[in-house]
């Protein structure tokens, strides 16, 4: 099979801005001619980047779906692309926009309207990861010993992703953003985001809408915000969250441990403003009607106080949308078992079964583990969903034919017992095993349910995955939506 290009779209609807990109991804066989086929994305080419649109809102808490639809149709036209050409990609609602009342409906609507297999995503963790990849922090971390953090600071939130030796090592989100306080050139506060109020209170800043404030106070607020965030990231505030105000600034729980940073990059709208001249007055600050320029300057100054190198990201304001469009897709192994009539499948929750070599060698243990995971599944997922979930299997590097038979027997039997109405069963193996396992399951199920069994994709309990349509009939694009690094039992068996 010759090289293939697939077209991918990324759409990012943020607190203050909305943007989209179109890119193409090159798939090339990366295994030798004597090995099993394996394809990887080896090149990513940006074809079109939209202008930065202001995010259209209907009042305070609703997104203007119609207007977003119009903007996107114009961009598709300018890009010279029809949604039908799109093979993969992601729509993401970021920052505070995700709290709007119609956010989730819109993101799914857009995903479905945008082509065969464009997925809807949300969640600060995933957003931080995609922005980090778009900014190039994952790549940078391959060249450093210590970890690299990318801080994607936008209008509503700062999404921080850590990468160590090319791999994601955690994410954390702060209520730090340029649009959290809106102010006019005269210094009148027009709005203060509810998410920032607890921190303002705890830090002893009393500001409320209608009040007029001076430039020094705003500067002080921005500096304090940056200091609290960076203190946490630079491990200056250990034990984690020891300082009351830092906890108030964080969205969600602190990380169990913060990696030691060697380098950090700042992307997002604020990252883009950091190179600009520092604002000296209220008038210069409020050019967008918010504290953005001032926050950018405060962040740049604050970064210099830590022994961590501040590097230039590949992308600033478009980091998230580039990440969503160009870095969200993975390719499954090319020896898999696919019932093409069942694809694409969107938004499938993952349940994981970790198999130890000890378990693999013992029929009773293996069958009990399979039965256990299906019992858990039956209690977690709806009976009539089809497929109800994706079963992730790991630890099967040295699987024998005999063990494969035991496992297939148990999985096929227990799945049909637990989900008699399901027409599809989805299995995601970490090791290269999917064709053998898929054939084995299919022989037992005879099409009821149909089997989609893919491999060389790493997922964890709590992730959601989207499975695209087959490429050349042998592999599929997969988007893994990591929802959380926190509360994750490392290496735990959920059986």
């Amino acid at each position: 099979m010759p090289d293939q290009w697939i077209t991918s779209v990324g759409i990012d609807i943020g607190t203050s801005t909305t943007k989209m990109i179109v890119s193409r991804l090159k798939l090339t066989r990366t295994s030798s001619a004597l090995s099993l086929p394996r394809y990887d994305i080896v090149e990513r080419e940006l074809l079109y980047a939209s202008p930065i649109h202001g995010t259209p809102l209907l009042g305070e808490d609703e997104i203007d779906a119609e207007r977003i639809g119009e903007l996107l149709s114009q961009d598709y036209e300018k890009a010279g692309i029809s949604p039908r050409d799109l093979k993969t990609g992601a729509v993401i609602i970021t920052g505070e926009t995700a709290n709007k009342k119609n956010a989730s409906r819109i993101v799914h609507l857009l995903a479905e309207r945008s082509g065969d297999f464009v997925v809807a995503t949300a969640g600060a963790d995933l957003e931080g990861l995609l922005a980090g990849k778009g900014a190039g922090a994952d790549r940078r971390s391959m060249h450093t010993r210590g970890a690299v953090a990318n801080l994607d600071v936008g209008g509503g939130t700062a999404n921080v992703a850590f990468f160590a030796r090319g791999k994601p090592a955690g994410t954390v989100t702060f209520h730090v953003g340029g649009r959290l306080i809106q102010v006019d050139p005269a210094g009148t506060i027009e709005a203060v985001s509810p998410s920032l109020r607890p921190w303002l209170e705890a830090s002893g800043f009393a500001i409320s809408p209608g009040q007029t404030v001076g430039f020094p106070l705003l500067r002080e607020i921005c500096a304090a915000m940056c200091r609290d965030m960076l203190d946490y990231l630079a491990r200056c505030a250990l034990p984690a969250g020891g300082k009351e105000t830092i906890r108030k600034l964080m969205l969600g729980d602190p990380l169990p441990s913060v990696p030691v940073l060697e380098e950090w990059t700042v992307s997002g709208g604020i990252g883009g403003l950091m190179a600009a001249k520092a604002p000296d007055s209220l008038a210069e600050t409020a050019v967008h009607g918010d504290i953005g320029p001032l926050l950018a300057h405060a962040l740049r100054q604050c970064c210099e106080r830590y022994p961590i190198r501040l590097a230039q990201p590949d992308q600033t304001v478009r980091a998230t949308v580039i990440g969503a469009g160009m870095q969200s897709t993975e390719i499954s192994g090319a020896t898999v078992h696919l019932d093409a009539s069942l694809l694409p499948i969107r938004n499938l929750p993952v349940l994981k079964l970790d198999i130890s070599p000890h378990m693999l060698a013992r029929e009773a243990l293996l069958k009990e583990a399979a039965a256990g995971v299906m019992r858990t599944a039956a209690s977690l997922f709806e009976q009539d969903a089809s497929p109800p979930f994706a079963l992730a299997l790991s630890g099967m590097k040295h699987c024998s034919y005999e063990s494969l038979q035991w496992l297939s027997d148990a999985l096929a039997e227990r799945f049909r017992e637990a989900f008699p109405a399901s027409r599809a069963m989805v299995v995601v193996c970490e090791n290269d095993l999917a064709k053998a396992l898929g054939q084995s399951l299919d022989r037992r199920c005879g099409g009821r349910p149909g089997i989609v069994c893919i491999d060389q994709i790493r997922v964890e309990y709590g992730d959601y995955i989207d499975l695209g349509e087959p490429i050349s009939g042998v592999m599929i694009p997969v988007v893994v939506k990591t929802l959380a690094f926190h509360n994750r039992t490392v290496g735990g068996t959920h059986a």
Partner: protein, 287 residues
């Protein structure tokens, strides 16, 4: 003098320890047929950095995890460490054993494979005269004619080639997975058998005799210091005398640390199906 004594003691100590471990590794697997205990690879534990005080420990470990090559093995003066030297010799011995070894009769019996021989005569001659490993003996030809179905859609043959241990280690996974895969595609297999002392091109001679559509030869590969148990699957559409090497398709490096045996077995079925559809193999096959 002091130093000589301590060195001897050290070597003795290592050897005693090795003997103990070999005995321990060999004793529980009493049901293992074939007798001779081949050197268990994990005798030395997983590969780990021997560099004392590395400047960047994680970096070394990352590199070691990325390759089966002997890196980060350190040294004593200008020589290898005893442990690494013994590991090297152990791996070398395993490679030699796999060439001179015999496939376990229990495995051949388990899958109902009868045995024929090529004209290789003995292992020494087999190594010197590859051409003799490509021709089945007259006796073997008779056996094949009387036992096998002619014109099979898929003819599977197993051979020890250069590594009997490759067959012992992988056939139980590759072969049944391959049969399942053929069944899943609705393909039928002819009568399988085992060729002792075979070379890849022995499929041409057998192809002339049985005239199958597609030939699958599962054969032990030339052993190396990384793996002595590596198997290849050579596949060919209508092999016959005069078939050129570019007409053969191969999946190689099949062992626990390389191409996964189960997945290889399952994928061979897919390749065979494409050969039947496209009526060709080797470089002309569009995979």
């Amino acid at each position: 003098m002091e130093r000589t004594i301590s060195l001897e003691r050290l070597v003795d100590g290592v050897l005693t320890e090795l003997e103990k471990r070999i005995a321990a590794a060999a004793s529980p697997g009493g049901d293992e047929a074939g007798g001779m205990p081949l050197a268990p690879v994990d005798l030395f534990g997983p590969a780990a950095s021997r560099v004392p005080d590395p400047k960047w420990e994680e970096g070394v470990n990352e590199l070691i995890a990325a390759t089966p090559a002997r890196i980060g093995v350190w040294r004593a003066g200008t020589r290898p460490l005893t442990r690494e030297m013994l590991k090297f010799r152990c791996d070398h011995a395993a490679a030699v054993d796999s060439i001179y070894g015999q496939v376990s009769p229990a495995i051949l019996e388990q899958y109902g494979l009868f045995t024929v021989e090529t004209r290789y005569e003995n292992t020494e001659n087999y190594l010197k005269r590859p051409d003799m490993g490509r021709i089945v003996t007259d006796e073997g030809v008779e056996k094949i004619r009387s036992a096998c179905r002619m014109n099979a859609q898929v003819q599977i043959v197993v051979s020890d080639g250069l590594s009997a241990s490759a067959v012992d280690a992988n056939l139980r996974d590759v072969y049944p997975a391959l049969l399942d895969s053929l069944k899943a595609y609705g393909l039928s297999a002819g009568t399988p058998f085992f060729v002792r002392g075979g070379r890849v091109a022995v499929m041409d001679h057998i192809g002339d005799i049985l005239q199958p559509e597609v030939f699958v030869l599962l054969i032990g590969e030339r052993p190396g210091l990384v793996s002595s148990k590596s198997m290849s699957a050579y596949m060919c559409y209508r092999p016959r005398k005069g078939t050129v090497e570019s007409d053969r398709t191969v999946i190689s490096n099949i062992h626990q640390g390389g191409t996964p045996p189960l997945e290889a077995g399952a994928h061979i079925g897919t390749v065979v199906k494409k050969m039947l559809e496209q009526r060709t193999s080797g470089v002309n096959l569009d995979l």
